[in-house]
Amino acid sequence: MGLKRLRGSLRQVIVFSLFVVLLMAGYSAYKGFGQSIDDAQTDWPVVGSILPRTDDLTMPSVFEIIAGVFAEPRGLNEAFGSIVLREAAITLREAAVGFSVGVIVGLTIAIVLSSSQLLERALVPHVIASQTIPLIAIAPIVVIWGRKNMDFLPWEWHDWMSVSLIATYLTFFPVAINGLRGLHSPSSEALELMDSYAARRGQTLWRLRLPASLPYLFSAFKIAATASVVGAIVGEISAGVTGGLGRRILLEAQRYTTGPERLYVAVLGAAALGIFVFLCISLLEYSLVRRKGTEAIL
């Protein structure tokens, strides 16, 4: 069985790599095609007007992008890839803290709401409405508020914590909604069984509702983990903090003309970070929810 699993994940790695290669090939093919339209100055009736033309500035070649990872930006003796990695570590910390707080908040909301139908009916619309407020609107508020009003905390408040809070805003939601579904998922027979054993509410929660929620929660965690990266990046950009992938993306966008490949590398770094946190959650799920019939998505 272990061998079968290993072979399964090996196959997934191969498929994933093939897909990356395919993506690069597609990118290169379009680049070549779009540029040839531009170079030839032909007026291909359909293609020329529907598909955008391209050039080396808007689409640096795959090789330039890869070279951009290793190139040292002027005035620095550090490869750009390693700079992006350091920025990613900052963003990862913000996202991880935001995610953790979001999971705690989301679970608490789910447990409280699941305990009473009245509360659930009354408050779920508010939970949903919370997500319609655009992140860009709340980000600066959170940062300013954090700088001014967080002195009651026993530790010093840093701007990156505000960014985490912004990430939390995106992560608590899927956890709360899926958690609520999971907590309601046990059959009435399972609940009656617990009643027949005179189980207390807390016992039913801990021994039935929560374990039954795990599959629901883990699909929420996967969404929330990637959302926490998005939240951290958007938070960095709109909050005006220093450091992090979001800041780097903003910076490289501003000086795009002098090195377009650097923006591509930074954006790809953000994508890689998203995949990384997703894989971390999948691994956790694989080790925790290893029941027969439930295959971990890895």
């Binding site: 617990m194 009643d195 027949s196 054993y197 021994r207 374990p211 039954a212 029941r291 027969k292």
Partner: protein, 269 residues
Amino acid sequence: MTADPTPAVEIRPASAVEISGVTKVFNPGGTNEVLALDNIDLNVDAGDFVTLIGPSGCGKSTLLRLVAALVDSTSGTVLVNGKTADQARLDRDYSMVFQKAGLFDWRDVSRNIELPLELMGWKAADRRRRSAEMLELVKLVDFAHHHPLELSGGMAQRVAIARAMSFKPALLLMDEPFGALDEMTREHMQNELLRIWSETETTVIFVTHSISEAVFLSTKVVVMSPRPGRIAAVIDNDLGTRDDTARDTPQFFANVSAVRRVLRAGESQ
């Protein structure tokens, strides 16, 4: 030295369950009002094996759930071991087995059996010991660490019985526990249940749709009739021997016919 005069037997109230004048109305006052049970009287003695049989919708499950205090009666009283049904539930005087085994699939077999013991706050070592004992009782020792999804229907139901028996409740309430099993497995499970019943001296109330199952298992067959749910007859059922051989005795066939006659009479009313 003289022998200790006190007998080494537990003294239980003579009646395990006393149901008197119980009526159950679902959704009273609503357009979907149902008179599920109408003025039921029933006594179950300690050590009895009582089956409830009757057509679908005659209130068998409702009666069982009243004893379990999972629903409240509209009027009348239900006493379990001389207490109110709800007090008996809180005191863990009984255990239930449903048609679906209802095992928790994130727990292995042994931890499923330990569930009620955990809820009662037993120490881990005691739980282990008891679950091992129960696995022996239901003959699943080799499956202690299997997961529910790896079990056949019959095995899963045996685990459910082991879970129900784990804290040795005085009363076992079973709602069509073998209803989803094939005929062969079913007869095997019936034999096993009779063995466990005679080994543990538990009182059993057992709901079934099968006449032969009722006659083979019980000391008393309670025949119910529908709309509204009433007890049509209580038939004492003594087959002499209490094992597989009883299935082929003239007494068995005679009692099957008797139960069938009462059921038919209830239908044609």
